[in-house]
């Protein structure tokens, strides 16, 4: 029962995040993260769950400061790859949770579509979350978007937030 309740709470957080991203409410999206948060997308040619951003070349390796800068950049017409903005849809499922001391770990499956101009691309993978509770609210401390793909093909850019 306790565990089901926890999963529902985490699902609510993950669905909120997906919704904010799909609505391009990126400043609001940032508020779901703690001040010491990190956002990672590992490469696809080594095991993503174990890849280490300090020793392996990632696709995205953001600390909280760079997450903020990423959001600022994406609000500008000069972020050409996302201007005019693409349509995105984050579908999140298979959410699993585990409580550890001072930390909730969550895993979830995702499929994210990005459509723009004449193309529609899909990113498939799984999320690894570290979630903490601050003043009774869940905050994401780390999100790793592991692509279950052999390469970033047929497309070339993670210009949206996965």
């Amino acid at each position: 029962m306790e565990k089901h309740r926890l999963r529902l709470d985490v699902e609510e957080l993950l669905y909120t995040e997906a919704d904010l991203l799909d609505q391009w409410k990126l400043q609001e999206w940032l508020t779901l993260y703690s001040d010491d948060a990190h956002y990672y997308v590992p490469p696809t040619d080594i095991p993503g769950d174990d890849a280490d951003p300090n020793t392996d070349l990632f696709y995205i390796c953001d600390d909280r400061r760079r997450m903020q800068e990423r959001v600022i950049r994406l609000t500008k017409p000069g972020a050409h790859s996302e201007w005019p903005r693409s349509k995105t849809r984050h579908v999140v499922g298979n959410v699993r949770v585990a409580r550890e001391p001072n930390l909730i770990r969550a895993r979830a499956s995702f499929a994210v579509w990005r459509s723009k101009d004449t193309t529609s691309d899909v990113f498939v993978g799984h999320y690894l979350y570290e979630i903490i509770e601050l003043d009774g609210l869940m905050r994401i401390r780390k999100k790793t978007s592991v692509l279950d793909m052999e390469a970033l093909r047929p497309h070339a850019r993670i210009s949206i937030i996965l």
Binding site: V41, P42, P43, T44, D45, I46, A51, P53, N54, T55, D56, L57, F58, Y59, I60, C61, D63, R65, R66, E69, R70, I72, R73, K76, G78, A79, H80, S81, E82, D117, T119, E150, A151, L152, R153, P154, H155, A156, R157, I158, S159
Partner: protein
């Protein structure tokens, strides 16, 4: 027919035009494979990617599956990764360690140098079957090494690698001199694809002219994050390295994990970067150390090897699958020995700008794909212009288009020679 595809250069009027159908035409695409990718020296890999005897990796080079191995003695071999029996790809793993490779179809098994070791049912073949040269895995016709960079060539004849590299060789040396410990390819490959012609990516990789417009948000980010240091001017020159190779060498507002510390990395690393620079001066002398450490370099070795020594060092190579589609592989090159702190910030700095998730590469991809889309008008709007700097005095500026003219002149020469 091919005459419509020739470049047009008028030095007196300062005009250099490239036909847009060179980016869209299916026949040009096939001719590029025959006249360029089959004849030029192509990058295969870096010695550090095969660290031990019996290490191997597989890679697609110019549409061909390649098995790159080291044998028990540590010698390197480049094999065409196709079974001499019925053709199946023999090694199906990306990388690993193995002294033998068994084809999954009928179990023929080959050594690191491609020789046929065993085959099931061998009694049913004649006595000299196993040693028949046609029953061994075929070697890539030529493989040569320049420092730790391995190149292959699918033609048996033609110039050797040092002659082919011309003046780009010294720049390959320079990028190998960052550390006396040697250089290594870091784990993790950026593998992506662009819906555009491969030559657009070659052009883009050393195009200094586009930085201020295409990458305005990145430059704004640097100013925002690094204050005054983020205001260092983009300035420098372009150098023709001959045989189609060229480089731009310039100062820039981003940090470099060798001698150009920026506040984003935190105070803790400042003394370390200063010490690296001091050691570099002792080892290479003042001038070469200053050049290596403070100048950025974007180099294209014709036709498709990019070595960019910028906010990090990347090796990038790419192959078209169609006139409007290219597969790209990119790696990070780093000193074999550096502190955990520096390796962390080197990779952090790499992803700031470079690659599909960086603050700049996605906008390059947008530019390339929009060019390709624009070429649908090439019946009515037939030419690209790359004339910038044809009228200048002195050396070309980093933001002129001399580099592209060098690339296209070589492209034109090779395709025209194959026509004759």
């Amino acid at each position: 027919m091919f005459n419509e595809m020739r470049i047009f250069a008028d030095r007196e009027r300062g005009r250099f035009l490239v036909p847009r159908r060179a980016f869209t035409d299916r026949e040009v695409f096939e001719r590029e494979y025959a006249a360029i990718f089959k004849r030029c020296w192509l990058y295969l890999g870096h010695a550090s990617e095969l660290p031990h005897p019996t290490s191997f990796l597989t890679r697609i080079v110019a549409r061909r599956p390649i098995l790159f191995t080291r044998d028990r003695d540590g010698d390197y071999h480049a094999l065409l990764n196709s079974c001499p029996h019925r053709g199946a790809v023999v090694c199906r793993e990306r990388r690993g360690k193995s002294p033998a490779f068994m084809c999954m179809y009928h179990g023929w098994t080959f050594g690191s140098d491609g020789h046929l070791m065993t085959l099931p049912g061998s009694a049913a073949y004649g006595p000299d079957f196993r040693s028949d040269p046609q029953k061994q895995m075929t070697r890539v016709p030529r493989m040569e090494r320049f420092g730790d960079f391995f190149f292959i060539n699918f033609s048996k004849d033609g110039e050797d690698l040092p002659a082919y590299l011309a003046d780009s060789g010294d720049y390959l040396k320079l990028v190998s001199e960052h550390s006396e410990s040697g250089m290594v390819v870091v784990g993790g490959t950026q593998e992506y694809a662009i819906r555009g012609n491969w030559k657009l990516l070659a052009e883009n990789s050393f195009d200094g002219y586009h930085a201020k417009c295409t990458h305005s948000t990145y430059l704004e980010y640097l100013r925002n994050a690094n204050g005054a240091l983020g205001a260092t001017a983009l300035a420098g020159e372009g150098v023709d390295l001959h045989r189609g190779h060229a480089v731009i060498e310039y100062t820039a507002p981003w940090g470099r994990p060798i001698a150009s510390w920026v506040p984003l990395w935190g105070e803790e690393g400042r003394a370390e970067i200063d010490a690296i620079y001091a050691a570099l001066e002792r080892r290479l002398g003042r001038d070469r150390a200053a050049r290596l450490a403070t100048k950025n370099r974007n180099m294209v070795i014709f036709p498709n090897l990019v070595i960019n020594d910028i906010m990090a060092i990347t090796i990038r190579t790419f192959y078209p699958t169609a006139p409007d589609h290219v597969l790209v592989n990119a790696w990070a090159l780093a000193p074999a020995k550096e502190s955990e702190w520096l390796r962390k910030y080197r990779l952090f700095n790499f992803t700031e700008f470079l690659g599909p998730g960086g603050f700049a590469t996605p906008d390059d991809v947008e530019a390339i794909e929009k060019c390709q889309a624009g070429y649908a008008t090439s019946d009515e709007v037939p030419f690209n212009d790359i004339s910038k700097g044809m009228f200048g005095d002195g050396p070309p500026s980093f933001d002129d288009e001399m580099q592209m003219r060098a690339f296209w002149t070589e492209w034109d020469r090779r395709l025209a020679a194959s026509e004759a």
